[in-house]
Symmetry: none
Subunit: 195 residues, 4 copies
DNA sequence: AATGAATGAGTATTCATTCAT
DNA sequence: CATGAATGAATACTCATTCAT
């Protein structure tokens, strides 16, 4: 039986409570960056966030809920930027790639760790919807540039682009000329299959 | 200070012991496939391997050592196949891709979990050497097919190919026409950068 | 490389926690008395202290830390008494000896076990300082009584006195006339070397 | 119920077996020297002795038996020397002290560790007898030199002498002039109590 | 006899979570 | 609300001892 996603325990109404929640989620992010999924634990998160373990459990029913909140936070921020680009310059592949790069390079290890975490996480409806919207926006941008293409090809292109960015984020590839490299990998593939 | 990898404790001398070691490593592999890095623990490994926890620790000094052994096992098997291909038909990109696909599809979740695990693992010299040799063999095959190219471009191509295979292994992309898709992604990129 | 002593994990803030720490250290003391260094283990300590194993590890990072805390507790108590004597009646050798005897006889097996434990323990700076201060105070008392003497001779005298007390504590020597015996052993030596 | 002392499992009849037993006991001695009572364990003893764990258990029924054998070995060697001295120059206090010093300084950490171990050990009749004989021989030598004295006073003197030697063995006291120091401590006490 | 593979009870330690203050 | 003390099941790892070969 798939465990249902848990909602945050109480919606923080006061300003201070919002700050507390943010601190907790950010602490979790930092720990993921440093040690990956295996090293995160609630006591440590509380300590790093500067709150007591009791307070942490006031807002999040369990460890997973914190990670889910973090995933949402990251998605939301990426999505917002993507929406802006899509609205303003709907054919700007380069811009989108640059954004993704910035997003990834901002916190490459965090992005990687979250990708791993998600495989075990029970995301809530909201987060799932976000994921889909990100995929759609990306696809639309590619279509605007390369013409109508099969869904699978578009997805493949996205996967390729992300892989190159990730590799650079992890230090496997140099950061210089990364934008070109990503654009080349994506367009190389799409032009070939459209051919 | 990068923690040095602990040596295997005791080299198994009798046939029975060799089988025991293999069983332990294979049990670890199965657990990784089912639950990922977070769910692996020595007691479980021992139980699944059908040996006592004491036996496990006779041969592996700690949890990490088991994972290192598993990485080596996987590398070795891939490397052997690659060597055969490189020796017999040195220009056969398709063959290499097919091999990689088979390797990955044999146990896709295992491959993914190991990739994650490696980011925290302290591989020994042997395993590191294998990684390098795999990269070199792959690069050579690409050069034989696409002509001399910058090291970074070759690496990028390998990363792209692996990403597409991985995505299919995780079920994000369909398995049908995967060989073509991988070849397209790799050649699309390389032809583009070769100009 | 001498392993640094791990710091106490968390300073107890509430009265309850202070009591818990005391209970843990006292439980360790009791176990040492009964079975010596070889028989002490954290689970047993927790059980005897009437706390869960988790609670124990909240305050002490490992087994050694508990023993270090115990050494400090014992030192502190002895030191306090010594300071009082040194301040009030600085020539009173007999008083000092009596105090040491009381200290030792209060819990002879504990004192013996701790002496053994210390050979393997990594004492922190504080505990080391205490040891030195105890030696200094003892020496001063001897000097006040026997006149200026070489540091080594004073130390020898202290060692002799302690050995006689210890032997009595372990039951090798009778408790009767112990005060005289100790004073005789110490003064016999010092008078001899003073010539 | 006081555990009965266990006899060696089988008396080694062949030359090789004798060597094996000696190697085992000596390995135990070395480990005690390095890490004290807490660090000795049968697997390690076997390894250091260069025999398999199975072989070790052929000759000694359990861990304690090895330690008992070691105690006997040490006692025997000391006793033999003492007997020679007592027979040849029965008033030679200095010689006896020198012997004890040599014995102790030969392997000071071993002597200390064994003293600790004995408190938990179940010595056999033979070893107990040896202990008594050592005490008697020492007393006789003291009597020959200082005249008839109470048993307790003699014992006290022995304890004092041993304490000073031990302290030097542990590095607390300098090795230079140790013979004089020991003689002074012992004679200082005995002359005092004889009045 | 000797070997070394295997056992499992025992011990060390962590960490998600609850609850009294 | 916030705190931090306390819990204990889960996990990591050790070591005395047995047994098949």
């Amino acid at each position: 039986m798939p465990k249902a996603p848990r909602e945050p325990r109480k919606t923080p109404r006061q300003r201070r409570a919002v700050a507390t929640c943010a601190a907790i989620v950010e602490a979790a992010a930092r720990i993921l960056e440093e040690g990956g999924v295996v090293s995160i634990n609630t006591n440590l998160v509380a300590e790093r966030a500067g709150v007591s373990i009791g307070t942490l459990y006031q807002y999040y029913p369990d460890k997973e809920a914190i990670l889910v909140a973090l995933v949402r936070r990251e998605r939301e921020s990426l999505l917002e930027s993507l929406r802006t680009i899509a609205a303003n310059s709907p054919t700007a592949l380069e811009e989108m790639v640059e954004l993704s790069i910035r997003h990834q390079f901002g916190r490459p290890r965090l992005a990687a760790a979250l990708e791993v975490a998600e495989t075990t996480l029970h995301l809530d409806a909201e987060a799932t919807k976000m994921t889909r919207e990100i995929a759609e926006l990306s696809s639309e941008l590619l279509v605007a540039r390369f013409g109508q293409l099969d869904r699978v090809e578009l997805l493949t292109a996205v996967i390729i682009g992300r892989a190159v960015i990730n590799a650079a984020g992890e230090g496997q590839l140099p950061e210089t000329a990364l934008l070109d490299r990503v654009v080349n990998s994506v367009s190389g593939y799409l032009e070939k299959v459209r051919g």
